[in-house]
């Protein structure tokens, strides 16, 4: 989050310079991903429905990324993208807490100055409201509506203030994207722009493309605030000029930034929070109006400094009598201190506290030294270490958070370990995300509760056992919200210590192939199913981690590492069974089914979706026979439901299953005409089911990561076998399973409307298909709609094959199997008519 309202203020006052992009020729630019994305998204206000179809990717993101990278390439600019890492204490409190924070009318400002992290309850509230208003309009039309879907009104926006949900999924997606294109990236341990500041100081980059927060850094003379790729121009901020123009010292500026609210201190503090700005109710009204509002607040802060010499810190100190103000003071202090002591990942791989101020001082000192001595040759930039001594207080954990081992930060930095898991360790809370569909349904809540035992306990146990004992004893809770406002959440205490430790139960499972093949779930399953004796092939007599084991006997290739840990993960989930005493590795019924996949001719891309479906069925929180009607208004018309009750239930089953199907964004993004802004029907009930699948997939991913990190941290893998971070990225990160899910509800909706139309239109396929292609015309996949239907039908058939097997193994209710079979029959009939 940038310094609130400052950006528009600077633009209005003409304090932002601009140059053609080719000036940056040969430069290396450090890009703050949060800032970069917020600019893409804010410029294109067309993502109203991404949240409604359950997609974490904003429309056209791919397209913009590709174009921007192309321009970088043309100008020989090297971009280095830096992601945000863990949240500082201030940020976490603001993001996760449901407190209203005494912010008053300033909340409106956030609508204007959108950025990535938000109080998440604002987002969920917003989504819920949008859904309710949509459902209201559906109900109103229910009598007249037969087969024409109710499309949400154009003004309805499911994304809170055009906020893109900067989820882990998006981060992982982008990381894969960057790896594919050989673009350098890094996940900062904490604040991305402060990591960039470090990179700038150490001359890894020539210039920063970041948020206004960079103005708080004393070392930052110039940085880029925006790129106008169309005009081939970039906008930059010259700090000296701005401070001169505003007639402020650096300290005064930081003081003002701390009350305005910025990345490190997200609240707008008194006295500025009491300003009753004229609200701008119409989001579509002219920008000028909103800018005047937002600028007033900066003006006011500056005027207070000009006219009365206000120091806002002193102001906070002296207003402790009022309620909430102690909190305000605390927020100020923490924010200010985080600016001065921010952990950054240093070139040597260590995470250390960094203060740009001290670096600046050290440099001055250096200069003076150099002046007196002769001008010695300069060090090579990469070797340059910014080790400077400055006053580091003894309670950094109070405003940053607790320290984790450098190795964990390293895994985070390359994208191997999700920030959320690390956050759980430091904060002691695993905050469940609020689903796309808004309110968590009963079955969803049940799923979360079950997952605490199935996934979370294991994750925490695996992650805490290699690190400091403090974390093994620390209580860690999972927080489950019961409503969108986050009030009265359920807390589940997680078990971090089990005896014997989880890792000990699985560490003799080893896959050693020493092949160079790329890891996929399919290749993994194939390897297992080809084995005649799992115990013999995939267990080891000895553990691999001690130093006594020579590096040749350890895991040496990426495939082995990933396969070993996926096998272990599946063991933990009960798909395989490893008996420690008997030292035997056997597949369970589920496992046998999985091993049968290659014989069932399952398509490679469907492996992970079907694995998720298996876990879903195994957890048994939402049987296919259960109706969702109580939680969401059906998308099908009353006419359909009344005239074709059986077919309606078939349609329901099909739409649920199809949320697992990846329609794939590639089709739309490859289209050079790019305007694939989705606007069409939406469906909450499919979304609810999709949330379940997403949740399971996410947990699978997190569990796998935990197993992987436990293995890596213990030293089972020869960590020097991969040369440089690029090797880690391309061989491991790009191959992580459960990491690539990108589904939405579009295919299931297409089937719904297709079948509904088919029913009402005298069972003719062509009309129904034509109808669907008009309804979903904004998707730009209409030309190949037949293909899409056939492809998804193939997926459904594979599901049917799986459920048949499941049914035969008594793993699935025969009723469920039956209805899936009948639904599919119906679908096939409709499509082949």
């Amino acid at each position: 989050m940038p310094i609130k309202t400052l950006e528009s203020y600077l633009f209005e006052r003409g304090l932002v310079g601009s140059y053609p992009i080719d000036i940056l020729k040969n430069a290396t630019i450090g890009i703050d991903v949060n800032h970069y994305l917020s600019r893409i998204i804010n410029n294109k206000k067309n993502n109203q429905l991404t949240d409604a179809i359950g997609e974490f990717l904003p429309n056209n993101l791919n397209h913009f990324l590709e174009n921007d990278l192309k321009i970088f390439e043309e100008n020989k600019i090297t971009p280095i993208f830096v992601f945000n890492g863990l949240l500082t204490v201030n940020q976490a409190e603001y993001h996760h807490s449901n407190a209203r924070f005494n912010e008053g009318a300033v909340n409106n400002l956030e609508d204007i100055n959108t950025n990535i992290f938000f109080n998440k309850f604002k987002i969920s509230n917003h989504r819920d409201k949008a859904w309710r208003s949509y459902e209201y309009s559906v109900k109103k039309n229910q009598e007249t509506y037969i087969d024409q879907p109710v499309v949400p009104h154009l003004s309805e926006n499911f994304n809170y203030a055009n906020n893109i949900n900067f989820s882990t999924n998006l981060k992982n997606y982008l990381i894969r994207f960057f790896i594919e294109r050989k673009i350098s990236y890094q996940v900062a341990p904490y604040s991305s722009w402060l990591q960039l500041s470090y990179l700038y100081d150490s001359e890894f980059i020539d210039i920063i493309y970041g948020p206004t927060d960079c103005l708080m850094l004393p070392n930052m003379e110039k940085f880029i605030i925006g790129m106008e790729f169309l005009n081939k121009e970039f906008r930059f901020i010259d700090k000296t000029k701005i401070l001169k123009d505003l007639d402020l010292t650096n300290d005064e500026f930081v003081d003002i930034a701390m009350v305005l609210g910025n990345d490190l201190q997200p609240l707008t503090l008194p006295p500025l929070n009491t300003i009753n700005l004229p609200t701008n109710k119409m989001p579509n009204s002219s920008n000028n109006g909103s800018n005047i509002n937002t600028n007033a607040i900066v003006d006011m802060a500056i005027d207070m400094v000009y006219n009365t010499g206000t120091n806002f810190y002193v102001y906070q100190l002296n207003n402790l009598l009022q309620d909430n103000n102690k909190k305000n003071l605390q927020f100020y202090q923490r924010g200010y201190s985080s600016l001065k002591n921010m952990p950054v990942l240093q070139a040597n791989g260590k995470v250390q506290l960094y203060s740009s101020e001290s670096v600046l001082n050290a440099r001055d000192l250096d200069k003076k030294k150099n002046k007196s001595t002769e001008t010695g040759s300069k060090q090579i930039t990469a070797d340059k270490q910014l080790t400077t001594q400055y006053e580091i207080p003894n309670d950094v954990y109070d405003f940053i958070g607790q320290q984790l081992p450098a190795e964990y930060y390293f895994y985070q930095s390359i994208g191997l370990l999700d920030t959320k898991l690390l956050e759980t360790l430091t904060s002691g809370f695993y905050y469940e995300d609020i689903p796309f569909s808004g309110v968590p349904t009963k079955s969803y809540k049940q799923l979360i509760k079950k997952s605490a035992e199935v996934f979370k306990d294991l994750e925490i146990g695996l992650l805490t056992s290699p690190i400091n004992r403090y974390y093994q004893i620390k209580t860690i809770k999972a927080i489950i919200y019961n409503n969108v406002s986050g009030e009265n959440p359920d807390e589940i205490q997680l078990t971090n210590k089990v005896t014997p430790p989880t890792f000990d139960k699985i560490n003799k499972i080893v896959v050693k192939t020493k092949t160079n093949q790329q890891f996929t779930i399919k290749s993994f399953v194939k390897l297992l199913s080809n084995s005649k004796d799992l115990t013999k092939d995939f267990t080891s007599e000895i553990v691999l981690f001690p130093n006594t084991v020579s590096s040749e006997d350890k895991l040496n290739v990426a495939f082995d590492l990933l396969a070993t840990n996926l096998l272990r993960t599946l063991c933990l989930l009960g798909i395989f069974e490893y008996d420690v005493k008997a030292k035997s590795l056997e597949p369970t019924k589920w496992g046998k089914l999985l091993l049968n996949f290659p014989h069932l001719n399952i398509t490679e891309t469907n492996y992970s979706a079907l694995l998720v479906l298996m876990i879903f069925i195994k957890l048994n929180v939402l049987p296919f026979t259960d109706s969702l009607e109580t939680t969401a208004v059906s998308t099908l018309s009353n006419a359909t439901l009344r005239s074709y009750p059986v077919e309606s239930s078939y349609i329901d089953i099909l739409s649920r299953l199809l949320t697992l199907y990846q329609i794939g964004l590639e089709n739309s993004s490859n289209d050079s005409s790019n305007n694939s802004n989705y606007h069409g029907p939406i469906d909450r009930s499919s979304l609810i089911v999709k949330d379940h699948f997403d949740y399971i997939n996410n947990n699978l991913k997190e569990l796998f990561q935990s197993v992987l990190v436990a293995s890596l941290a213990s030293g089972e893998f020869n960590r020097l076998s991969l040369k440089g971070n690029t090797a880690w990225q391309s061989e491991i990160i790009a191959r992580l399973p459960f990491n690539e899910e990108n589904t939405n509800t579009i295919m299931s909706m297409m089937w719904e409307y297709f079948l509904q139309k088919y029913l009402h239109n005298g069972n003719t396929k062509t009309d129904a298909l034509a109808f669907v292609s008009t309804e979903f015309k904004t998707l730009k996949i209409t030309t190949e709609i037949d293909e899409k239907f056939n492809d998804s039908l193939k997926f459904l058939k594979e599901v049917l094959v799986l459920s048949k097997e499941l049914n035969e193994s008594n793993l699935m209710n025969s009723k469920e199997y039956e209805i899936i079979g009948k639904s599919l029959e119906f679908a096939e009939k409709a499509l082949s008519s």
């Binding site: 053609p20 890894f204 300003i275 009365t308 002193v314 002591n341 207080p393 950094v396």
Partner: protein, 747 residues
């Protein structure tokens, strides 16, 4: 005439030379000359005497008696000899006369008259010739010439002619050498910096010419503004209607856009004037479109980036650098190679500077040149580690200037491409080559400016040293770092190597390679002091003190008229900072500066400050309605003294009291104050509505450089854009013009 050594000792006044030991034998020389020539001699003599009035002279009478005294009068019309009057005469030498020395001293009195016939010799000491710059210039030039080969010839011809008739030129040629002054950088003195940049209409006092005239000379003015403008009849029944109509018209006119940026600015329109300098905005001829026209005319061959600015003829054959520093440096270099050039100072300075000998008393002119050269050196890329920290400010100035410079119109897209294409082959050369070529100034290739300008921009943007190179391996370096395992390995290898070299290769080193185990990391961060982060905050009082100090500084500065007149500052800065030609110091510059000083000085009234303080503080209270932080400071009693509102004179709340404070300058309120009271009412309204702390919010804004800004900020700060639109522009009008009509409207 004898002697005539011009010593260039610099006096505090700055621009006058003193001619010491210059004596004149004043005899009625018996020249066999024509009357005209004689007359001209007389003229010169007259000039000499007029200039020597006030200086000490020694007169020798025919009696041999010598008197010294101050020459107070001289009779140019005397027919015989030189008639003079001496003040405070003193007897120096009795000579042959029989005057009693002691006696005479008492008798001499205050003035002494000499008849022309009595004066035998007159010795004039310390005559002050107020030489103007031109004269000095001429001398300098001649001096330079005299050191050139031509000198020889000149001097010989001079000696040949010396016995003959001398023309003016001859005489002046034979005049003694004039040494060049050692120039010193002008720096404002701490206390008078403000006066120099003062503009004409931003003085802090109310200068009333009529009042002063009446007081000083007893002249009562019959001035009536209605001689010059239409009288507005307020009693007219349709006055209101007319007023509204007038306002409407005014708004209409003002709301019209204008392509002229100056007009647009006057009308309070928001324009993007980045990249325009003062000339473009206010005085330059609008040349937008010239390029396009030219391109049309020769549409087969598009015109290259022509400089859009007027280029002095002397510079037309230079490569078209825009940066003045480069211009000067290039001009310097070209003079080196051109012997016909009469510049001498340039080359010497040049070589000296390139060698990097730093001279503490280096004149500012040479500094600029030096920087220019250094800059080109840097942009070439052979970055020698020369220390030029002390010049950083100047470089910064130069950078700013060139940042501002931008071709003030949009080049059409297709043009850009054409230009780009023609650039590309050049670009493929090493950057070193291309920029070197452009700075060496050889050739007049029209394509070059665009390249050098891009490079220059890049230099400006990244700083001279941070310029990214084409062999940028930063990505590689980046990818190979940030990996704790590899750095552990690297340091291990290093240790082994070290150990091996110490112990000898025979012994095997038994040092296991260990990657630090994660459990060694404590959950707390390493600290250097045993203190909480809360304890690291500065003391509350220190902070308040600091803030108050800054407040006072700021308000003192708000007196500084150059805040109020940005343009003036710019113009002056431009002249001081960037001599555009190599012709030495622009004579206008000195003149210009000294012209401003006396005019501005009367407008500074630092003595008034204390008088204002109390009054304004209290007025603040009234306005703030208990919401201002100031109020809180006071009520909480920690803030020390109440914040001092030294404010600027425009501050509306204090407007009236401020006038009272200016006792002795009793003037009617001038129209500056009107808008303030106007705002005041506005402001109060806001206070009531929103309870916002807003008082004095104009303080800063009125200081704020441009009227446009003023306008804009007022609107914004009030937060009611539509409501206040009219008010804002009105006040804008008022503060800019003293037009009677608007004055009336306001009332």
């Amino acid at each position: 005439m004898k002697g005539g050594n011009f010593s260039n000792k610099k006096q505090s006044g700055g621009s006058s030379y003193h001619n010491s030991n210059r004596s004149h034998a004043t005899s009625q020389a018996m020249f066999a000359e024509s009357p005209e020539t004689l007359a001209s001699f007389t003229d010169r003599q007259d000039y000499l005497f007029v200039n020597s009035i006030g200086s000490e002279v020694t007169a020798t009478l025919f009696s041999g008696t010598k008197f010294s005294g101050i020459l107070s009068a001289y009779n140019p019309e005397s027919k015989e000899g030189i008639e003079i009057v001496l003040k405070f005469p003193k007897l120096v030498d009795v000579g042959f006369s029989d005057i009693d020395t002691k006696d005479s001293e008492t008798k001499l009195g205050e003035t002494l008259l000499f008849h022309g016939k009595d004066v035998a010799e007159l010795e004039l000491n310390n005559i002050s010739f107020s030489l103007d710059e031109k004269y000095e210039q001429a001398n300098k030039k001649r001096e330079i010439i005299s050191q050139q080969p031509i000198k020889q010839q000149n001097t010989t011809s001079h000696t040949e002619q010396s016995s003959k008739f001398k023309t003016d030129v001859d005489i002046s040629k034979s005049a003694p050498k004039i040494k060049e002054r050692e120039l010193q950088k002008w720096a404002p003195e701490a206390d008078d910096s403000s006066a120099l940049n003062q503009g004409l209409d931003d003085g802090s006092s109310n200068w009333d010419q009529f009042a002063v005239n009446e007081k000083k000379f007893g002249v009562t003015s019959s001035y009536d503004e209605h001689f010059y403008t239409t009288k507005i009849d307020k009693s007219h029944p349709e006055y209101r209607k007319r007023l509204q109509e007038a306002e409407k018209l005014a708004k209409e006119i003002e709301s019209q856009g204008s392509s002229n940026i100056h007009v647009a600015e006057d009308r309070g329109l928001i324009i993007d004037d980045s990249g325009m300098d003062e000339e473009d905005k206010y005085s330059g001829v609008d040349r937008r479109g010239d390029e396009l026209l030219a391109a049309l005319k020769s549409n087969t061959k598009p015109i290259e980036n022509k400089p859009s600015k007027y280029v002095p003829p002397t510079l037309r054959h230079q490569p078209h650098h825009i940066d003045p520093a480069i211009i000067s440096s290039v001009t310097e270099q070209s003079t080196v190679g051109a012997p016909a050039s009469t510049m001498k100072a340039g080359p010497t300075l040049n070589t000296k500077n390139i060698e990097g000998k730093s001279d503490s008393t280096k004149i500012s002119y040479s500094n600029v040149v030096k920087n220019g050269i250094q800059k080109t050196i840097y942009s070439v890329g052979t970055s020698t580690k020369e220390n030029f920290n002390s010049k950083e400010t100047q470089i910064e100035d130069l950078k700013k200037f060139s940042q501002k410079f931008k071709v003030p119109f949009k080049v059409p897209e297709d043009m850009k491409e054409v230009v780009k294409k023609s650039e590309e082959p050049k670009d493929s050369n090493s950057t070193k080559g291309s920029s070197k070529a452009s700075s060496s100034g050889k050739g007049t290739d029209g394509k070059r400016p665009s390249i050098s300008s891009r490079r220059r921009h890049a230099t400006i943007f990244f700083g001279s040293q941070g310029l990214p190179h084409s062999n940028n391996r930063k990505k590689e370096i980046f990818n190979n770092n940030f990996n704790m395992f590899e750095s552990a390995k690297a340091s291990y290898d290093k240790n082994i190597e070290k150990a091996e070299s110490e112990m000898g290769k025979e012994e095997k080193i038994m040092q296991p390679f260990i990657i630090e185990k994660p459990y060694f990391t404590a959950p707390t961060w390493e600290s250097t002091i045993e203190k909480s982060h809360k304890a690291l905050f500065p003391d509350e009082r220190v902070l308040v003190q600091k803030a108050q100090m800054r407040l006072q500084q700021r308000q003192m500065r708000s007196y500084d008229p150059n805040m109020g007149n940005h343009q003036m500052q710019m113009a002056m800065g431009g002249m001081i900072g960037y001599p555009m030609s190599t012709a030495g110091i622009n004579p206008l510059m000195n003149g210009g500066m000294s012209m401003y000083v006396p005019m501005q000085q009367p407008m500074m009234y630092p003595g008034m400050v204390p008088q204002m303080v109390g009054v304004m503080g209290s007025s603040g209270k009234e306005g703030a309605k208990g919401m201002s932080p100031q109020q809180q400071y006071q009520s909480l009693g920690y803030g020390g003294p109440a914040p001092v509102h030294l404010g600027n004179p425009y501050m509306y709340q204090g407007g009236m009291t401020f006038n009272q404070g200016m006792a002795g300058h009793s003037q009617p309120q001038n129209s500056h104050y009107k808008p303030n009271s106007h705002h005041n009412s506005n402001f109060n309204r806001h206070n009531n509505n929103n309870n916002i702390y807003y008082y004095n919010n104009n303080n800063y804004k009125n200081n704020n450089n441009s009227h446009y800004n003023n306008h804009y900020r007022n609107n914004n700060a009030n937060g009611h854009p539509t409501k206040n639109q009219g008010n804002g522009s009105e006040s804008n009008k008022n503060s800019n013009t003293q037009e009677p009509t608007s004055k009336n409207v306001n009332e």
